[in-house]
């Protein structure tokens, strides 16, 4: 009895602190971005917030954000997709070969997302129907398989030169003459519009549709989802297929940005995607995380790389820093959860 009362008192004293936790849970990551922007602005006042640099960041993160969004959905189901970096390369190679074969641009444009879609579906079917013990194994296998196929069909050499209609997606500029006067150099990258639209669509999908709700439920407790009559395997196939599809869109954006398909495209980008998702607050154990968090995670990685480049910090130090941030972000999450369960 005494113990109970004491706990109750502790709870009251803690209440302000406890009330702040959900606030930080929701907006802490945006706060972190603002702090990063402020610091980098102070360190590089002329360059960092210039129109050119900001659009540059958005262009750099454009294709990576597609991978992160796909991997995020997979992680919400408590799965993992290691093959997205290879899917982006294979879809890029497929696009390049279709382009070289002289197909019309609108067909070429569909090739990359279609290949991504099929690769993702292959992952999903493998994980569910072959009853792989963990998605890690299936997608580790396809990480090698997809990149191998990409090199087989291209002969392992880069293919360059795409139609203007393809390039516009990754490299296009929407001029802002209306706001800044005739001939102004300010513009919005087409890819930014594309990723905003896609993130919005997936936000609606995950938060306002039944399948979206079921994806979270599967991550929380697959047994509960099954008991509720949800066809878990079918939902998982949908999730991995969409993840592959998004990687295919990433391939399309990358094609426009680089105007070439090259064997090392997307190499290790699956790890960047996982890092962005984790930094964005998703739980590796599934069921937790938001689309906005993923976007924030992607932006943090992008801003960090950009800022460190501007300050001429060596790539090696960048690796050390990004690794540290991943561990720190998850450690903060661990602390937060400890606090939440203590009350």
């Amino acid at each position: 009895m005494d113990y109970g009362e004491k706990r109750l008192m502790d709870k009251n004293q803690e209440s302000l602190f406890v009330k702040l936790i959900p606030f930080f849970e929701r907006y802490g990551i945006l706060l972190l971005i603002l702090i990063m922007i402020a610091v980098l602005h102070l360190l590089q006042p002329d360059v960092f917030l210039s129109w050119r640099n900001v659009t540059n960041i958005f262009k750099q993160v454009s294709w990576q954000s597609m991978l992160a969004l796909g991997v995020f959905m997979v992680i919400v189901t408590a799965g993992i997709d290691l093959s997205v970096g290879s899917i982006i390369m294979l879809s890029l190679m497929g696009l390049a070969i279709a382009s070289k074969a002289g197909m019309p641009w609108y067909v070429v444009m569909l090739v990359a997302p279609a290949i991504g879609f099929l690769c993702g579906m292959f992952n999903g079917i493998g994980i569910t129907l072959l009853r792989m013990p963990h998605p890690f194994i299936m997608t580790l296998g396809t990480l090698y398989i997809f990149r191998g196929i990409g090199n087989l069909i291209s002969g392992g050499v880069p293919i360059t030169g795409f139609a203007e209609q393809i390039r516009v997606i990754g490299n296009g500029k929407i001029k802002l003459d209306v706001f800044f006067g005739e001939g102004a150099r300010e513009y919005i990258p087409t890819s930014l519009i594309l990723i905003i639209v896609i993130f919005f669509i997936f936000w609606v999908f995950l938060n306002h549709t039944r399948i979206g709700k079921w994806i979270y439920a599967i991550g929380g407790n697959p047994g509960a989802a099954r008991a509720a009559g949800i066809n878990v395997d079918r939902i998982l196939i949908v999730v991995y297929t969409l993840c592959g599809f998004l990687a295919g869109i990433g391939g399309l954006i990358l094609a426009g940005r680089t105007n070439s398909a090259y064997p090392n495209a997307g190499l290790q980008s699956e790890l960047d995607a996982i890092a962005a998702v984790i930094i964005g607050g998703a739980s590796f154990f599934g069921g937790r995380g938001t689309v906005l968090g993923v976007f924030a995670g992607v932006m943090i990685m992008g801003i960090l790389r950009n800022g460190l480049n501007l300050m001429n910090v060596s790539v090696f130090w960048q690796q050390v820093l990004i690794g540290s941030i991943i561990i720190l972000a998850v450690y903060i999450d661990v602390l937060r959860r400890q606090l939440a369960t203590r009350t």
């Binding site: 609606v204 938060n207 306002h208 549709t209 039944r210 979206g212 709700k213 079921w214 979270y216 439920a217 991550g219 929380g220 407790n221 047994g223 509960a224 989802a225 008991a227 509720a228 009559g229 949800i230 599934g286 069921g287 937790r288 939440a340």
Partner: protein, 248 residues
């Protein structure tokens, strides 16, 4: 038997290979009645529940819902007949709010053009109404299930089972993992269901549970009907004796 018969199992047997889990078991349940099923581990209680809910097909024997003979191919079939099972492991997703759990797989939606979107408002309203009807107290319908105590989780699991006008609810050890003060709340909830005209079958090891909520108790022993009695005509000692296979 009374006219209020809602569920009946006649001469049900279930074999797993050479193992006989149930042999010629009879069970009947009336409207608004709480039936306690007791028995030692391996007596066949859980197997019987799984047969009633359609998870297992009986090897022999038949089931009657409202006096009509039925064949259940899956738990979906029994759900459609108004029978819901509250699972021992609760089958809730801790990361989702109470309302989402109650309506998981049966979410209210609204149509916008060709698309079906979740109707968050309606779900919240239905959840609050349902919780109020069962007199379940929680801070908010939006609270995540993982933030709830064991007893509250059990209450949500029961709320989930009864959200769609269930006529029969099966509960497998509903108080097993609960703190003492929470057991009472779950038992109150069972009595509440009874008042609402719902029939309940409770499997429990705890005599306190059986003697607080049940109208009738039946004992299984080694997969067979061993004894059965109106609660008022028996005693704890006698029921404990049945569990161990002793009868005067």
């Amino acid at each position: 038997m009374s006219d209020n018969l809602v569920l009946e199992a006649k001469l049900v047997s279930k074999f797993f290979g050479t193992i006989t889990a149930l042999q010629n078991v009879d069970l009947h349940l009336n409207k608004g009645e709480v039936l306690g099923v007791v028995g030692d581990n391996g007596a066949g209680k859980s197997t019987l529940m799984k047969v009633l809910s359609g998870l297992y097909k009986p090897s022999e024997g038949s089931l009657f819902f409202d006096r009509e003979k039925v064949t259940l191919n899956s738990p979906r079939d029994s759900q459609n007949l108004g029978l819901e099972m509250v699972y021992q492991d609760l089958a809730l997703a801790g990361n989702l709010p109470i309302g989402d759990n109650i309506f998981l797989g049966r979410e209210p939606t609204r149509k916008v053009g060709p698309f079906n979107f979740l109707d968050h408002k309606k779900r919240k309203q239905l959840t609050e109404e349902h919780l109020a009807k069962l007199k379940i107290n929680v801070k908010s319908a939006d609270q995540k299930v993982e933030e709830l105590s064991g007893g509250q989780r059990q209450a949500v699991a029961i709320a989930r089972a009864t959200a769609f006008n269930a006529k029969i609810v099966l509960m497998d050890e509903p108080t097993a993992a609960l703190a003492v003060k929470e057991v009472g709340k779950v038992l109150d909830l069972i009595l509440n269901l009874k008042k609402l005209g719902v029939s309940v079958i409770v499997i429990s090891h705890r005599m306190d549970d059986i003697f607080t909520v049940c109208d009738r108790v039946m004992a299984l022993f080694q997969g067979t009907n061993f004894a059965e009695s109106e609660l008022k005509n028996t005693s704890r000692d006698e029921v404990i004796g049945w569990i161990m296979g002793k009868k005067d």
